[in-house]
């Protein structure tokens, strides 16, 4: 029988949640790396026992951990992330030049074809690659040298490269997103990058339709339709049908189009999920009701899903890497909150239940579907 393994990163450690395909009884293990911020934990699709984890604190900086046995044991690997050449400056919050400084790894994206290759999205924004199982890292500096780098600015959480998407049909094509610069695409394996922000509109920058400066919160793709991308921007839910060359807004009837997560059903490329959040400063669900919104039409028409989720007095947030889907026949949807709950829906969002309720604030959720 199939199993699922959920990898949860929190502000105070990592947790591994295991269940069989019914997804109704859960074994919770952890905390691993207790007391450390675990920004992201993700397994290789090639070797499900190979897991990479980003571990950091303000005190002792960045570490990368690697497991070769499905998360039972871990070993620290290389944590040296050095920018290629003199990194120069980006814009600070007030528009003044600010030196590029490495702070942490936000996202780890293992290769689709090689368990030894993994990509890291870091703050201040850059992408690094390891081809030796995270024993060494090299910056793919074509992105930072795109030319618009001096115009990039930090979002509230810092100037982070938080999204890396590998195209399953074109090994040379990748997508990344940066807060607050926007989305970028490479078609040549990372040598050169193109800003793909046409159609985005952001009123917090002097030119709302500028090439860069957009606070993209997350981007998602379905592997069967790799030219279609979905984006949750600071405001607006967007869709591209041409690999990011142009975007259209699909916020439709959402109660608010602010949010952080966005994800796609494992078997239905037109079915997507968001968690609307009240903003600019509140960052909790509208009406204090935690609801996932699902569109079965690639956006614009949305339905609220709250069965099993708290529908009163709920003031949590769901952060950008804290939603995932499994690939069982009945697609499971998972998300974690800043209140420490991890919820699962084993029926594509119709019904929800908590796997755990009282973890530290959840930073990231990934799921593995295991044979």
């Amino acid at each position: 029988m199939s199993k699922v393994r959920v990898l949860v990163g929190t502000k105070k450690g990592a947790f591994v949640l295991n269940a069989d395909g019914k997804r109704d009884k859960w074994d919770v293990s952890g905390p691993f790396f207790g007391g450390w911020e675990m920004y992201h934990i993700k397994a290789s699709p090639v070797d499900p026992n190979r897991i990479y984890a980003s571990q950091s604190t303000s005190w002792f900086g960045q570490l990368i951990q690697r497991s070769n046995d499905g998360g039972k044991t871990w070993e620290p690997v290389e944590n040296k992330f050095v920018y290629d050449g003199v990194p120069g400056t980006h814009q600070w919050y007030d528009g003044t030049p600010h030196p590029w400084e490495f702070k942490r790894v936000w996202h780890l994206e293992p290769s689709l074809t090689d368990a030894e290759t993994v990509y890291a999205g870091v703050e201040d924004a850059a992408i690094f690659r390891s081809t030796d199982g995270a024993k060494s890292w090299q910056e793919m500096s074509g992105l930072r040298k795109h030319g618009t780098g001096p115009q990039w600015t930090p979002g509230a959480g810092g100037m982070c490269l938080h999204t890396i998407i590998l195209d399953p049909k074109d090994p040379k094509r990748m997508f990344i997103a940066i807060s607050a610069a926007g989305a970028f695409r490479t078609d040549d394996g990372g040598e050169t990058w193109k800003a793909i922000n046409q159609g985005l509109r952001s009123n917090h920058i002097p030119d709302p339709t500028a090439e860069v400066g957009h606070c993209v919160h997350h981007v998602a793709m379905h592997s069967a339709k790799p030219k279609r991308l979905y984006m949750q921007k600071h405001w607006d839910v967007m869709r591209s049908d041409d690999a990011g060359d142009s975007w259209q807004e699909v916020s439709g009837n959402l109660p608010t189009d602010f949010g952080f997560v966005i994800d796609v059903h494992a078997h239905e490329p037109d079915t997507i999920y968001v968690v609307p959040i009240k903003s600019d400063s509140e960052h909790y669900p509208p009406d204090a009701k935690l609801r996932v919104y699902r569109s079965r039409s690639a956006g614009n028409e949305w339905e609220a899903l709250g069965n099993g989720l708290p529908q009163e007095n709920c003031y949590v947030n769901v952060l950008r890497d804290a939603m995932a889907v499994d690939s069982l026949d009945k697609c499971g949807i998972y998300f974690g909150t800043t209140g420490g709950q991890v919820y699962v829906s084993p029926d594509a969002g119709d019904n929800w239940s908590p796997i755990v309720r009282d973890l530290p604030a959840v930073l990231s959720v990934e799921v593995q579907t295991l044979a």
Partner: protein
Amino acid sequence: MICLQLPAHLRNLARVNGEVSLHLDGAVTIDSVLDALEAQYPMLCGTIRDHVTHKRRPFVRFFACEEDWSHVPTDTPLPAAIATGAEPLLIVGAIAGGAAIR
């Protein structure tokens, strides 16, 4: 033999209990102690000082013989009691800090 006290997080990372003992040849300074520490426990590289610049991380402090050595030039010889191992060099996580908003 130099004795070194690490914060709990770094003891866990290095998989050591209690104080760390280090053998040093030559001058005993913050630099030489950290060089020896990182050679013996490479997983600690980057956690106390920057990989490249060797600048102390902002929330890390060095105490020696009840004095704060955090801002003393790191090539300054440490007190004799540290150099002889009579007193430990303390590496301390500052009671401060915080995390960025995600």
